[in-house]
Symmetry: C2
Subunit: 121 residues, 2 copies
DNA sequence: ATTAGTATTAGTAATTATTACTGTTTATAT
DNA sequence: ATATAAACAGTAATAATTACTAATACTAAT
């Protein structure tokens, strides 16, 4: 993967926030640095960065969001303000349990808690 | 919500399978009973049935799938064959824990285990 | 049974998120 | 410096879903 100014900018944007941004959000930010960057470039690079394990993708309904944090962790999605916040839930030996009981080889565990966040008491 | 033949057909289709069908799959099935049913009708009724709590929606990446089983349970998604199979994982008092530690009011817990199912040993 | 009111429909257009194509630009190894 | 191909901008295409509209069909009241 050859260096590119666009990809480096996109990577820095994802690494600069804890908001789990969408491609559109990254695109809006990237345009401030590179005004004629194209949305296709943002999508292509987000995919490349994901495939290389440099960032990860999380699914918020039908919308893909990106996360610089590759440590295993989970998310709380607020239906009121749309925020998505990290949470570390104890997973124990879930993988082994599922392998033994269902013969299913788990490669990834996606846990999303949906509800109302602490900003709306 | 008034009776409609289309909606009843759609409801029966979702209740007839454990495959967690997509709107398209339900549409293909519904056409066998009602050849001129429209895809919009399928989407509208799947949404209505979901809003009424008669079925539930689960998210498979960017694709919405539907489930007649409203009991709290989780899913194993096979990346090889695309199947989505039920699994009941012990959730304990997750809701209370999250409420106490993060002041986040959980209304729904979505857990998807991604990996390879027992058909591909 | 007929009528009136409106929820629902089929058909189609529009929207949203994302991917594919294409001719041009640019990183980088020689 | 030059060659090569990866990456780009711009645009078109696709997939899933939602919105619009005039016609149809439930259902409650006459
Ligand atoms: Mn995260
Ligand atoms: Mn299920
Ligand atoms: Zn919130
Ligand atoms: Zn499988």
């Amino acid at each position: 993967m050859r260096y590119s100014h666009q990809r480096e900018t996109i990577r820095e944007i994802v690494f600069s926030t804890n908001s789990h941004p969408s491609a559109d959000w990254v695109y809006a930010r990237a345009k401030k640095a590179i005004p004629n960057i194209s949305l296709g470039t943002v999508y292509r690079n987000l995919k490349q960065l994901t495939d290389q394990g440099i960032i990860r993708v999380i699914h918020d309904g039908s919308l893909a969001r990106y996360d610089w944090n590759k440590e295993p962790h989970d998310h709380m999605k607020c239906t009121t303000c749309g925020s998505m916040v990290d949470i570390k839930l104890p997973n124990g030996n879930l993988k082994n349990m599922v392998k033994n009981q269902h013969n299913f080889e788990v490669s990834d565990v996606e846990i999303t808690l949906i509800g109302k966040c602490n900003k709306h008491d």
